[in-house]
């Protein structure tokens, strides 16, 4: 045997050198090492005068269980290589990070530029994503939200190009009677109502909804009942469903609220139920994209929206409790809406739209939208609404 004439400590680099990087080569090397021992030993014994057979059996006896030792050594080496590879990876990672940091520090101007670019890019992406999430990805809090679509009405205003408005009552009626693609249809409007209690008046958020919307959006009552189709018809008893949060905060969750009559400033309505918790209405941007923008509207009182379809030529909604003075506001061809109405409905010059709004401040604007936003639930295909309207026009 011969010393390698290399003394002293061997660095980890040298040690690594003796190891295969691939664990599958381990067994072969172990075999080679043990074979060297066995061969040399046999030759040594034969040199002392033994026959080959004698020497082999003697070495076998001296060595012990060859297979067991080989497997044990292979196991040790495999785990050693795995450790070594892991250390190498961590080491090179640290080295790379250090090198990058040093390089970056040597060029501060470039680094600053890169950092600013990255910060702006990430910030912009995050901002865009949060908008996309709210507008497009976040699901509406209703059953089967993927089937809901907003119905609107393309219209052009001189000077401001093509826009989309909410449906008129006639349009709503048309879709309601003619549409084959929609499973359910409902309409709603939100506004402020006045509540007079104990001699004090207060303004509260309110909504007028059709009974169709109640089933479309699952606006069910936790107490009493929600708005029924029988509440929808003109001339029905004036009823109201209290919003859940109003029921809790305003009436202290008093179950006897159901059946009480509330004064809405000259319009009284009997409370027939309490809306389920979390019942909200989407805020739909009628003018532009029609997206909900993620914002939802809460209502303290839910009224039935009564749309009188009996006479399409004088369609009227008697949807909300408000002063009768506002009733039967006439919008004819002098109003901006008449332009588009004419396009949509040939007889629109005669279409008298009685519109009443509790949000008197938004009257003019509301008049254009007239009947609020409509929701529909197509049975099979959604997004057909524009197609529908194209063919309609």
């Amino acid at each position: 045997m011969k010393d390698k004439s290399r003394s002293g400590d061997e660095g980890s680099g040298r040690r690594r050198f003796s190891l295969p990087s691939n664990p599958s080569r381990v067994r072969g090397l172990v075999e080679r090492e043990l074979q060297f021992h066995v061969e040399e030993r046999i030759e040594g014994l034969m040199a002392q005068g033994m026959s080959r057979a004698e020497a082999e059996s003697q070495v076998q006896h001296l060595f012990g269980d060859y297979t067991r030792y080989r497997e044990e050594i292979a196991g040790i080496d495999t785990s050693m290589i795995r450790d070594q590879n892991r250390r190498d990876f961590a080491g090179s990672l640290i080295q790379s990070v250090r090198l990058s940091l040093r390089t970056l520090l040597r060029t501060p101007a470039f680094t600053t530029l890169v950092l600013i670019t990255l910060a702006l890019g990430i910030g912009a992406t995050a901002a865009i994503y949060s908008v996309v999430y709210a507008v497009a990805l976040k699901q509406l809090p209703y059953p089967d939200p993927q089937e809901l679509v907003a119905l609107k009405h393309p219209a052009s205003v001189p000077g401001s190009g093509e826009t989309k408005w909410g449906l008129s009552v006639a349009g709503f009626h048309y879709v309601d009677t003619e549409s084959k693609a929609l499973a359910q249809l409902g309409a709603f409007r939100t506004y402020s109502a006045t509540v007079i209690e104990n001699g004090e008046a207060s303004r509260v958020p309110a909504a007028a909804v059709t009974s169709g919307l109640v089933s479309t959006l699952g606006l069910n009552a936790v107490l009493g009942r929600s708005i029924l189709p029988s509440d929808d018809v003109p001339g029905a008893e004036p009823v109201v469903v209290a919003g859940h949060s109003a029921w809790v905060s305003r009436y202290g969750s008093d179950p006897t609220l159901v059946g009480r009559t509330i004064d809405f400033g000259g319009y009284t309505a009997r409370v027939v139920g309490v809306m389920r918790d979390g019942a909200v209405l989407p805020h739909i941007d009628v003018g532009a994209t029609g997206s909900t923008g993620g914002a939802m509207q809460r209502a303290d009182f839910w009224f039935p929206m009564r749309i009188d379809f009996s006479s399409p030529q004088s369609t009227r909604t008697t949807c909300t409790p408000s002063a009768d003075s506002l009733r039967a506001q006439q919008f004819n061809k002098h109003t901006p809406s008449s332009h588009s109405s004419q396009r949509a409905f040939p007889s629109s010059s005669q279409l008298r739209t009685a519109h009443r709004s509790c949000a008197t401040t938004a009257l003019a604007q509301r008049s254009r939208r007239f009947a609020p936003t409509l929701w529909e639930q197509p049975s099979a295909c959604c997004g057909l609404y524009s197609l529908l309207w194209e063919s309609f026009l």
Binding site: M1, K2, D3, K4, R6, S7, G8, D9, E10, G11, S12, R14, R15, F17, S18, L29, V30, R32, E33, L34, F36, H37, E39, E40, R41, L45, Q58, H61, L62, F63, G64, D65, Y66, R68, Y69, E72, I73, I76, D77, S79, M80, D83
Partner: protein, 118 residues
């Protein structure tokens, strides 16, 4: 060869002692496995019982621990052999083991020499 296989009493103790013997042997310079074994036999006048195969797991375990480093080289007969040498970590381990061994033997010695309490 004076080695009798049935004379291996307890592998656990054997391994521990074997580490010490290997480290001490390698402290004189790099050797391959068989050379370590022959050197131990030579120095101890063949009085130690070592199952030869047990040498190699011990060598590899100490290599994994960083006490030994290994390198393939050529033996004096021209064969490829794996040579082991002790690292600085191995030297520290050797010193610690030598100390522990002498303390252990001292304690055992004390106990064996003790007389019964009157």
């Amino acid at each position: 060869m004076p080695v009798r296989k049935e004379a291996v009493p307890d592998l656990e103790v054997m391994y521990g002692t074997l580490d010490l013997l290997i480290l001490k042997t390698l402290s004189w310079g790099p050797r391959h496995g068989l050379a370590i074994l022959l050197w131990i036999h030579e120095v101890t006048n063949n009085r130690l019982l070592i199952e030869e195969g047990a040498l190699y797991p011990a060598l590899h375990r100490m290599e994994k621990r960083g006490w030994l480093s290994a390198e393939w080289g050529t033996s004096d007969k021209g064969r490829q052999a794996k040579f082991y040498s002790i690292t600085s970590q191995g030297r520290q381990a050797l010193a610690a083991q030598v100390k522990r061994w002498s303390q252990y033997t001292q304690v055992v010695d004390l106990l064996l020499r003790a007389r019964a309490v009157p």
